[in-house]
Symmetry: C2
Amino acid sequence: MTTNPTPQIWLYDTTLRDGTQREGLSVSIEDKLRIARRLDQLGIPFIEGGWPGANPKDVQFFWQLQEDPLKLAEIVTFCSTRRPNTTAADEPMLQAILAAGTRWVTIFGKSWDLHVTTGLKTTLEENLAMIRDTVEFFCSQGRRVIYDAEHWFDGYKHNQDYALQTLEAALKAGAEWLVLCDTNGGTLPHEVSQIVQHVVQVTGDWVSGTGYRGLGIGDWVSGTGKESTHSPIPNSQFPIPNSPFPIPQIGIHTHNDSDTAVANALAAVMAGARMVQGTINGYGERCGNANLCSLIPNLQLKLGYSCIGEHQLNQLTEVSRFVSEVVNLAPDEHAPFVGRSAFAHKGGIHVSAVERNPLTYEHIKPEQVGNRRRIVISEQSGLSNVLAKARTFGIELDKETPEARQILQRLKDLESEGYQFEAAEASFALLMYEALGGRQEFFEIKGFQVHCDLVEGKETNNALATVKVAVNGKNILEAAEGNGPVAALDAALRKALVNFYPQIGTFELTDYKVRILDGHTGTAAKTRVLAESGNGYQRWTTVGVSTNILAASYQAVVEGLEYGLLLHSQAEVAVKGIGD
Amino acid sequence: MTTNPTPQIWLYDTTLRDGTQREGLSVSIEDKLRIARRLDQLGIPFIEGGWPGANPKDVQFFWQLQEDPLKLAEIVTFCSTRRPNTTAADEPMLQAILAAGTRWVTIFGKSWDLHVTTGLKTTLEENLAMIRDTVEFFCSQGRRVIYDAEHWFDGYKHNQDYALQTLEAALKAGAEWLVLCDTNGGTLPHEVSQIVQHVVQVTGDWVSGTGYRGLGIGDWVSGTGKESTHSPIPNSQFPIPNSPFPIPQIGIHTHNDSDTAVANALAAVMAGARMVQGTINGYGERCGNANLCSLIPNLQLKLGYSCIGEHQLNQLTEVSRFVSEVVNLAPDEHAPFVGRSAFAHKGGIHVSAVERNPLTYEHIKPEQVGNRRRIVISEQSGLSNVLAKARTFGIELDKETPEARQILQRLKDLESEGYQFEAAEASFALLMYEALGGRQEFFEIKGFQVHCDLVEGKETNNALATVKVAVNGKNILEAAEGNGPVAALDAALRKALVNFYPQIGTFELTDYKVRILDGHTGTAAKTRVLAESGNGYQRWTTVGVSTNILAASYQAVVEGLEYGLLLHSQAEVAVKGIGD
């Protein structure tokens, strides 16, 4: 193991627990397993998997991980302290946590006196006992404990003494990490900074003043301290550096209700916190949790902390999109660092300057986080944007030529009709080829008809489509059924073309988005369809616009097929800058 | 005029200029005017309207505002310093700014030596002359100048002396505000804090050390200083408090590339900045600008600064949604303060606690920003969520009853089929009424057929729908044409029903969203449609799921009609919590 010259920050991902509290997000066990394994590859040391017992899915999730464990990461269970006036050993809830078989357990407890008396409806003393008893119970069972101090900042502001007593109870009972949670997300960075500094100082005093010494991660690895009682589950492969840590370790868990979750976590780290909890893409209840996709590059590239390997950092964009794909939420295109627009240049001034010297308009190199620079085509585009964009398709345009001006004009006309090429680069490429006289005609659509007959209970093949297509001067008429009109159209078209172009067999429509262009006129309004197609290793997006949703869909689907054929037939054209 | 006991922060909105740089956002002149007038009502003192001359739209926009001015806000033009080796008086670009007829002009200039030499390709001295000359020119023409120091923080870090010289040039030439811009968005809050503190100190020294005294807003109002040369455009109605300001005034303009735009602006204010620039909903290039919808409540409710009136603050959620509506972008449901989910409670633990004491789980009162608490129904819902949700529809359920459990079960079954009720509260209400035996049957759908025939060039009435509906036991068969199948279906259905239910004439479909539930199987996958309907003063959302996009659309449209009829017929049912 190498010693690390930069201070280590321990990342703790809670996408699978706190992240799934996001409104509109739901995941299957299989989804959770896929995400956990991807986070493991990314080098996240702690992955919170859920609360087994509170949720039947989570029981199975941990059971499957016992069968086929993660490679390096520690998978962590999450649960509350025992209920008031019970004993931890008799709590079925805590038995379910033990049964999950993780080495690490995160226990959350109340820090805020108001929550104890009005939420739990118990005494302040009993809450301390609940924390103590629960942490001690897990330690006695050989588990290592992270203590999440729920509502820490609000609790501290209302009753500092009591809040600190809860931390002391957890620490003395054996918790190795004390994580300060801004559960309601209302705290601002300057407050986080002051409060974390105070906690670091006070907890340090406890340790040195009382002679108490808890366990640090370093002890466990280096074989010092109370390791024997704490590591009964063998075969950890997690590469924990062999340096002793100061005890206790402070962590931070923030929410974005004040739009400062990332800044709050950074403020805590700069005040001495060494664990950062967050989620991929900032998913989480209400306004979300601290976004690890922003925190990791800020900590590592800007503040010089060590979090994950460089070869892992440059997977960050891919991981962000992978997770959004698995949880089936559209990625935030404007997300810092990993969004599709994060390094996109639109204004004419920027584009010419960024091409001369990227440093002048980019705060980091996009490749460091696996993202890339994009030149955006839009209504505001000047000629220099069009030229720069053309270059990403391997086309050198001369700005003095009529073709360049013609493309710009055509673009503006289409955008005024409601087309949008910012997200449909394949349609933009076809438009350029057409202007340059190089658009290959693979087929010509002569017409199509769709018929749907929907009666109660008939769910399959309820749509029939007929298409008439000409290929090399030969007319083909085909019909196909489908579950819905777009599926039927797509099927009929492929059926008509596949004999001429067998590669169409590998294409598939991977995503399909519909937008009503004028929200005020409902179904009579223009519809814009974005269709994403793929061939197994590349993806491209096309656009269609019409007052008829089927006509718009069809345009986009047809251009998707055409562009796919172009990719196959013109492998010599350097088609860069599309396949994401 | 009242004197203000709390320090004033001057808000400067750049939604109409920097905001429109956002990828995917484009606005008409009419859109810009609507937004400007709404921001004026909100109490934003400075509204940047655009760069007349660089954009033909912007020329017209300012011309229209000369005809029909804003009530209180100052509308501001934006442009760069003159080009190298020219004179300001001879620059046609600057003449276009004068022609726009605004009292205030924002000039942006280069702070970073690298941008001067590699971007502008001129000398450092010429850049200072450009700043000086341009600011002096506008002052000589009776305009008041805000100086935006582009790339301020990067410039300061690379060459502090030169960066400060650019500010001094602008100040001595007559600029009243010096705005520090983090153009690339790479700066973190602790750096902003240190640098702004330094600038406040240095610029203060200039003023006191040299005897120089520029103009402050206060001078203009109170009639001191050089007012006569500075206010040739009469009739300002902006209620600027009558207190003198320290000179010079520092402003802050941040971008969100590091996910800290809001925190950066707050750090600047705490370090002495008194103008905050940002955009509604954080729209802006790449990852966006600082979000005024987050900044205003943070500054006003948490830090005690005065920005806008209380009666204006509680319009914030409405303004956020209005702007997203006008620019035709889906609102960010998870936006801090103003998002639909910002005060949504999903987890079972939270819901019971928040009902007992909102303070325990909410960082501010949602009403302060015009938002409201929501109880979310989802797969993770426990019975307490369902009961709480039912209460928002005026239905008291007893959790011991089979009905309550039956609703929960039905909800879970439908969600596993792909239905989602989080965003479709009207469909959820219908489901509840059904379980309770109170779902009124207004009509029964017997079947429908749709036929589309699309040939080149035929864009209108290319779809024909027939529906068979039973009302009060009587069968009605109707057919209608439409631009597209959903429009035809909607038209046929209304035609069949309007004789029985004339109020249907006031309903309209206001939004329509389509989501493919499994992105991997393209058109064969299940489709979920969310349809938003309105009756002119309320809006409600319904959901439909099917492998056939038309069947899913139809379900949602039909439930939308049904719920609208229910609203009309059961005005006695307190239907709270829907119409947003």
